[in-house]
Amino acid sequence: MLYYSGPVARLVDEFAKLPGIGAKTAQRLAFHILNSPPEAAQSLAKALVEVRQSIKRCSCCCNLTDEELCPICRDTTRNGKLLCIVEEPRDVIAMEKARGFRGYYHVLHGAISPMDGIGPENLTLKELLKRLQSDEIEEVILAANSDVEGETTALYLARLIKPLGIKVTRIAHGIPVGSDLEYADAMTLNKALEGRGEFG
């Protein structure tokens, strides 16, 4: 880092800590900021500070929001009988973009993983159980990822929720829409076969 003066080096280091950013990209971003007008840097810094100060978890679904209740939880036109449980806030965005789901969400903020020290107590289960007791929820859709940790989390939640008399379902895993069978790996194909539905 002898090539940069102190503040530039610090900025490059900070950028390089971000996911997907290597040393070269970090350097490019830093010089981009140095070359742009001072206002651009000001507004970037302001946006960064504001996002950390104002964003918190929705008191109901634990999604990220800048208000007490997030826009989805405030939307009364949605189907209150359906609750979709996802691992991360970005999963809510993916589901919303697909526009196929009109119920409510609950964000766990992670998946069970002893290796990373994440147990059920680190997820937003307290908030979830509170909702399940008071709300009119009839079906819980488990939309955790299909990796080992996501699968385990789904299994754990199913055991937790079923005794409450609520229907528990798991999103299907299988062949992506519009793709060819021959490109699917054996495990995906088997999953798809297991989850086949009646047709025609």
Partner: protein, 372 residues
């Protein structure tokens, strides 16, 4: 399947090297420590995404550089495939035909390696035979490696949890363990089931090859030894049930020891000759022949399953075999593209006239010496 060309850059002691192997037999000769095995290693790496002798990727990178690339042109079912690995100390990238590709794609490319360490397959610890089950046997089913990786992941997670339970660092012990158990039994049953499915086809082939090599003198028996009490012909669901029942009883001991005591990671393969265990009672030569039979059966089964022979790599093992076994081997491989390393050719050039190339390695430089 055939390797058309190989280009190495900063791989071990090769700074820049490119060669077009012969479609049948390639004998790579040279003095010790010139880089013969390194060539085999690069071909193995191409298809498996790891080395068969380096623990870390760092070791295969030329000592003056931080990146190595292996680029291999392969002919697979009359399709040209360009496989490129870009390897750094802590990350590696697979690029097939110019596109970043997940490693699972390589499961369709076959490579069989026979090296001196393979003798431990017979005389070594069960761990060596599990390595054989996972790397060699497993490669005969394209879904195996993914299944095994998931099982390994569950195993690590569960063992971490066992430790936390013992040290009382977590509150929700019993519930949590039950969920991981469920995952362990599901994935474990799948691993065992796949292993048994492949072995059911592989063992008869190995038996008949062994019978032929020994001219009927020795009967090879191979049997899967499971940590679970399994009978032949079980379905995956039945294996799961057995795993579930036995696993429940083992739990208290497992918590005490922080180890998962049952499952495919504890299983073994028993190998015996005429009813006598080859591991303890077989001679060096017998053990070598068993290994040879197992390796050749892989070639054969791969051909039956996929209609094409895999690439064969023989590292320093040809001249450890006696004359009849040598010719048996050379006879078997006349349809297989083979790479053989040796410091001494022993007149083999004459046996395989017209079917190969002799290569000379000298301090990281490869030259085609003569057409055989």
């Amino acid at each position: 399947m055939r390797v058309i060309n190989v280009t190495l850059k900063n791989f071990r002691n090769y700074q820049e090297e490119s060669f077009q192997p012969h479609q049948a037999i390639n004998i790579i000769t040279g003095s010790n420590a010139q880089g013969k095995t390194n060539l085999l290693e690069s071909i193995y790496y191409t298809f498996r995404g790891r080395s068969f002798r380096a623990e870390r990727d760092k070791d295969i990178i030329h000592w003056q550089n931080d990146t190595t690339t292996i680029r291999t042109g392969v002919l697979l079912n009359s399709r040209n495939v360009d496989i490129k690995w870009k390897i750094k100390e802590n990350n590696k990238k697979l690029i097939i035909n110019g596109i970043d590709t997940p490693r699972a794609e390589l499961d369709h490319f076959g490579v069989v390696l026979f090296c001196p360490e393979d003798l431990y397959l017979v005389k070594g610890s069960p761990q060596e035979r599990r390595k054989f089950l996972d790397n060699d046997v497993g490669s005969l089913n394209p879904g195996y490696s993914k299944t095994w990786r998931q099982y390994a992941r569950v195993l690590t997670q569960r063992n971490t949890l066992l430790k936390e339970i013992r040290d009382k660092r977590t509150s929700q012990t019993q519930d949590m363990l039950e969920v991981w158990d469920e995952q362990l039994y599901r994935h474990g049953a799948r691993v065992i089931y796949l292993r048994l499915q492949i072995l059911k086809k592989l063992i008869p082939i190995a038996r008949s090859i062994h019978h032929k090599i020994t001219e009927g003198a020795e009967e090879l028996q191979a049997k899967y030894l499971s940590s679970l009490a399994l009978e032949p012909g079980l379905t995956e669901e039945q294996i799961y049930q057995i795993f579930f029942k036995t696993g429940q009883k083992m739990r208290p001991t497992e918590i005490q020891r922080c180890q998962t005591m049952l499952g495919p990671h504890r299983d073994d393969l028993s190998l015996s000759l005429n009813g006598i265990e080859a591991r303890s009672f077989g001679s060096q030569g017998q053990q070598r022949t068993v290994t040879l039979s197992l390796k050749l059966s892989q070639l054969e089964l791969w051909y039956r399953e996929f209609g094409d022979y895999p690439i064969l790599l023989l590292d320093d093992v040809l001249f450890e075999l006696d004359h009849s076994r040598q010719s048996m081997l050379l006879d078997k491989i006349n349809k297989v593209q083979t790479f053989i390393t040796t410091s001494f050719t022993g007149g083999i050039e004459n046996t395989i006239k017209g079917a190969g190339l002799l290569w000379q390695v000298n301090a990281g430089n490869l030259t085609a010496k003569e057409e055989l």
